[in-house]
Each structure stands twice: as structure tokens, then as C-alpha cells.
């Protein structure tokens, strides 16, 4: 089946088998391998991307469901310079092996965009769909706090 969608501002038209998962489409058809696959039960959040402005787990979306959608992946987040969230993860040492990081960042960006005056508890609750094995989350929480400040200041 033919699908047409926008990824990081670029239009793509491709033929896919209906069962093609969106994450496989991004990784294998478009070679956008920044979006990782960490589980098979929609638990870990490594595959989180933005679809029509919302964070979604691309392992649990069919490409045909995303037909016509506007997608943003980790590769499209930096705009010439790092997004404040990327910078904050860097400054706060919010990553170690880096595997969960793209999904974590995409999730955190939406958490901050959609929330006001996020408490530590809000952030921890907001990240419950993203599993990190390395960091113990603490520096991720700090990074989101720092980025939230930065992003609010930028408005």
C-alpha cells in the first residue's frame, strides 16, 4: 500500500506492506535509525517520536495508520543547534549508553511543551513510559527541569 507522510519536514511517498510498524518504516525504509526499539510490549518508550504534535510509541503504530501524518524524530529535533532538551541532557549527564535517550528526549520535549510549572513529581510521572537502565533517572529529571526553565524563557 502506498503511504505519503512528512518526516522532519521532508515528504516521503513509499510502498509498504500494511503490517509494517512505523518504527521499522523509519529505521529500515527511511534509514532514520535514531529511533530505537527496546521492547516488544509498548513498555520502554525507546521508540517515542512525535506524530502530528503528540508523543507516540512508534513500535505500536502501523505505517498505514500514519499515512498523511506529520512526524518528527530525534534526527529532526536539533535546528542548527541542539534543542534545549538535548543540551540539558548533555549538561546534566542525563544519558549513559544513549539507547533510551532519543525516546526519552522526544517524550520529555512534549512533557514540557504540554505542562506548566512541572514539579519533580510531575516530571517523574510524565516519564513513566520511558525506561532507562543506566542513569537511575535522576539526571534525566534534572535535565528536564533545566530544559523546562530554558524553554519557558525562550517563549
Amino acid at each position: 500500500m502506498q503511504v505519503s507522510l512528512t518526516v522532519n519536514g521532508k515528504n516521503y511517498r513509499r510502498d509498504v506492506e500494511p503490517r509494517t510498524l512505523l518504527v521499522d518504516f523509519l529505521r529500515d525504509h527511511l534509514n532514520l535509525t535514531g529511533t530505537n526499539i527496546g521492547c516488544d510490549t509498548s513498555q520502554c518508550g525507546s521508540c517515542t517520536i512525535h506524530m502530528n504534535g503528540e508523543a507516540v510509541k512508534s513500535c505500536t503504530v502501523l505505517t498505514v495508520q500514519a499515512d498523511g501524518a506529520d512526524l518528527r524524530t530525534i534526527e529532526g529535533l536539533a535546528n542548527g543547534e541542539l534543542h534545549p532538551m538535548q543540551n540539558a541532557f548533555w549538561n546534566e549527564h542525563g544519558l549513559q549508553c544513549g539507547f533510551c535517550t532519543p525516546g526519552m528526549i522526544m517524550s520529555a520535549v512534549k512533557l514540557v511543551e504540554n505542562g506548566k510549572n512541572l514539579s519533580e513529581e510531575d516530571i517523574r510521572h510524565g516519564l513513566e513510559g520511558n525506561i532507562c537502565r543506566c542513569t537511575g533517572y535522576q539526571n534525566i529529571v534534572k535535565a528536564v527541569q533545566a530544559a523546562a526553565k530554558e524553554m519557558a524563557g525562550g517563549d
Binding site: 513498555q43 505500536t60 513510559g129
Partner: protein
Amino acid sequence: MYPPKFDYYRAGSVQEALTLRKQHNAKFLAGGHSLLPAMKLRLNDPGALVDIGRIDALKGISEGNGTVTIGALTTHTMVHAAGNLPDILTDAAGWIGDPMVRNRGTVGGNIAHADPASDLPTVFVALRARFHLAGPGGSRVVEADRFFTGLFETALGEDELVTAIEVPARSNQTGSAYAKLFNPASRYAIVGAGAVLTMAGNECTAASVAIGGLTSFSRRAPSVEAALVGRKLDDAALEAAAAQVANDLGDDVMGDIHASADYRRSMAPVFVRRALAQARSRA
């Protein structure tokens, strides 16, 4: 993990969805957050899917005549953010899965799947919600507590589609709440309790209580309700009423590696009490 092959059809309307389903002996695909994981684990191999995700008429929330109607394709995120829904629903929608799951998962898909550990079935039973179903023979309405009939089983026919869910609008005399014991791994409910209390002063004039997570399907707790209505609801009354839930659980309390049946049974009154206390505070 990849889903098995299937034929894919996209419906633009409810009517088209019903027709396509019949033609291809297909299953409906909404947000896909129950169906796709099962297909990836190869626990489900439907052969053909009718994608109803683009039927805009099934999306959104509208209010009128003391009820609120939620389109079947409304996502949990939309429900959580709506602002005009009973607190029990707002809270529960914010506790389903995680933000990404809530952005894709739909209320209609959720109840049609009827996972015993899911939150919304309990909430809708407590709210005495009415489910609007469309089928080849026309549409019908089923009360929530008659809809859930067993483990992953509902009154929904294979050829039927959930189109909307109708719940009572918020009212000043009514308070509602959902209390949930989270599974530490999946975040599903080990026990979920829903309460809707109507109060006149500190006296309860109407009560609707539901329990889920621990039994094969969510159900009303009539013994608890009976112990509430007409009483002044001090803490002791709540505690005593909550304890009645033991009479409403039936004989199908489930156990697994996370929580034994005994544990779940003993958690039922705890969470009923918590839901009641919060509902009372909101009435």
C-alpha cells in the same frame, strides 16, 4: 517482533466500516494499542483489519441533557484533558499506561478489548455509562455493567462497533473517584475501584461503586452501594461499606506472579475505601 500479515482496509464512516468488516471478515483497528501488541506477540492473527481511526465522527466529547457523550475514538489524553467529565474518569484516564499510550489509545478500543486489568471498564461501570454500539442491524445501547461479560469478553457482537460512550455530566452534589493499585511492571490495575457518590449534606443519597482488576471483568459492588445509601458517611461508615465488597467479588478472583488472589481480595476493600473517601470529599 512483527505482526503477521493481514489485509488492510480503511473506513471513512461507520457504515463503511461495518460493510468492510463483513466483506473481509475483518477485525476493527482503532488506536491499536491493545490489538497491535497482541499481534506482535503473535497471540492474535486477524487476517484482515478495518482501520476506523479516520472516522472523525467518532472523535470528540459533547455535552447535553445532563450527559456527556464521548466518541469511541477519543483518546485517553483527550478524556483526561476534557475538563467537563466526572473526576473519576479524568483521574483514571491520566493513569492509563503512560503519556504515549494515552495519546494513541482510545476509549472505544479499550472497552471493546475488555482487558480485566484495564481501568476504564471499572470507571464506566461505576458511572453507569451507556455504550452505543452500531451493527449491521442498526444501533443499540448497552449498559456498562451488562457490557462486560467475561475475561476479554463483552456483549459486543463480532460485527458490531462501539461508537460512543455516554456518561452523566458532573454535578455539584455528586463526587466521584477512582483508586488504583498499580502493577509494578505493566502499570495496569491489580485492583481498581470506582465510586460515584451523591450527597445531601453528609448523607449519601445515591451510590454507585465498581470494582475491577482482580476479577475476570469489572463489576458493580451492590453490597457496598447498599451499605452507603441513606447513611451519614463518616469514616467508620465508609470502612464498613468498603468491607462489603467481599460479597461482590464472585468466585473468579485471579492471581498471578504479581499478586495472589488472596492479596487482591484483601486489597479490594482498601481501594474501595480510598475511592469512597475521595468521592465523598468531592461531593
